[in-house]
Symmetry: C2
Subunit: 262 residues, 2 copies
DNA sequence: CTCCTTTAGGTATCTAGACGAGTGGGCGAG
DNA sequence: CTCGCCCACTCGTCTAGATACCTAAAGGAG
């Protein structure tokens, strides 16, 4: 017995209740979990599995599609099917908007990524005035027109996050917030300079599968969900002065919050 | 033209770069987004789409499997393929562990769900002593043996959350925390009675696709991610006194946090 | 040595058909 | 009228094979 590519795998029972393609997926999954196939390593090809199990090619592909849906493997056309490596994650701490982080010349994202030794980029900047959607309008206390700032964040060339900030036009129009580069400390620093002292933020977090547009923008592999975060910033008067709608590749993030127990 | 079941759908271009099954999925997705098919409504059957588009059945099934992966539709054997209804969501506010919520006789989950008009249940209770995993041990400050409390939460009969609490054995052994029913206010109230006044919580949030075991436990439809939340409770001495590992059906939850801007 | 072509081995897509199995309505027996 | 069976419709699984296209390495032309 040489080290056959399918050496770790057993057989399937066609008479079992469990469908053959699920049995094959189970065996591959277990082999991956046990480290028989390591991260980035190539799995046996479709043809090899067809031979090994004595099933048709569609059945093998069906198995692969299960594992892809679980985000365990990814297929590369012409090369093979590989165990998906777990990418480095970015931790978002709940104090990331603390005032003390707001004095540097660069954005929080750049500073943080540099510190972590990654290569950060910000991309597809768009700043324009537009009509607020129903949801944004509600969150901003019925603002009708807003300034929208959209950008994409990349880490080592990989898109990880797409964010859109919305501010009521009566606050943002004509200020540096309406410029592509909002200056040191970002828009929160500018808001405070404009007299809107920030009081607190509210963050709503959901997770779901991405839309096709999000798959494209974030270059998501199949089986990777997104984290959808909607943050509303309130000033000390209780007015909502900004809503930031962020979609993150879930495999690239861990969010971290600290809560008082009082 | 009567109201054919496929009346809203166009044609496909086999010469297009975009694969036929993707084109079909696109058309169905758009029809759903536009409300041509409503929540819970049945889509055209495979056979009808085969006739309409003039493709083979595998191609149509391929389209359906895309939409299933996106969590947009679900198939019911013998009945058809249906637009997946968006279930009611449970909002988790960041003050849900505030001391003022800790005096009632029932658990926070029960109280909250009752208030929202849902029928809550707690299930598969397991309380036992065990060896801590590496991760849990680290989070609990190198505790080796722990008390583990596992339970599943259901809303209107649907499982929505599976949670496991771990406490250092030297704190929990022999106390009411080791009983199936920890009493009014839950284990946090008991911890404080034991002299561990709670100072703050730390929550880590991830999103990912569920493992097969999680699919089973939470009866998840395909295309539904899970939110994985790990909460560590610290007492005023800075000691980690509990770790709670929670897996939630992502389509049933919105997490909400309030952050100070200081 | 460099660059292009060929080729072997991958996956992507599609067809056509077969059988299995869950669901629900119609219809006949009682 | 009611109950139970049958059947039509539906999705689930599997086979067998064809074509297309991608990738990498080998080999030949310059």
């Amino acid at each position: 017995m040489t080290s056959l590519p399918t050496g770790h795998l057993g057989e399937v029972d066609p008479t079992s209740d469990r469908a053959v393609f699920r049995q094959i997926a189970d065996q591959l999954r277990e082999a991956i979990d046990r480290g028989r196939f390591r991260e980035g390593e190539k799995l046996p090809s479709e043809a090899e599995l067809v031979d090994h199990y004595g099933v048709s090619r569609m059945t093998v592909r069906n198995s692969f599609s299960i594992l892809q849906g679980e985000g365990l493997v990814h297929a590369e056309h012409g090369k093979g099917v590989f165990v998906r490596p777990r990418p480095p994650v970015r931790r978002l701490a709940s104090d990331r908007f603390a005032r003390r982080h707001r004095d540097q010349g660069k954005s929080a994202f750049i500073v943080e990524a540099d510190a972590a030794g990654s290569h950060p980029q910000v991309d597809s900047l768009e700043v324009k005035e537009e009509k607020a959607t129903q949801d944004i309008s509600t969150r901003l206390g019925s603002a009708r027109k807003v300034l929208a700032r959209r950008r994409r964040y990349l880490l080592d060339g990989r898109p990880v996050e797409f964010a859109a900030s919305y501010l009521p036009l009566d606050i943002a129009r004509g200020t540096q917030i309406a410029e592509p580069n909002p200056g040191p400390g970002g828009i929160y620093a500018r808001l405070e300079e404009l007299g809107h002292r920030l009081d607190h933020f509210e963050e709503e977090i959901r997770a779901r599968m991405p839309s096709p547009a999000e798959v494209k923008t974030l270059r998501l592999a199949s089986g990777v969900p997104v984290i959808h975060l909607i943050r509303t910033a309130y000033d000390t008067e209780g007015r909502a002065v900004e809503v930031c709608d962020t979609v993150m590749a879930a495999d690239a993030y861990v969010l971290s919050y600290q809560l008082p127990a009082t």
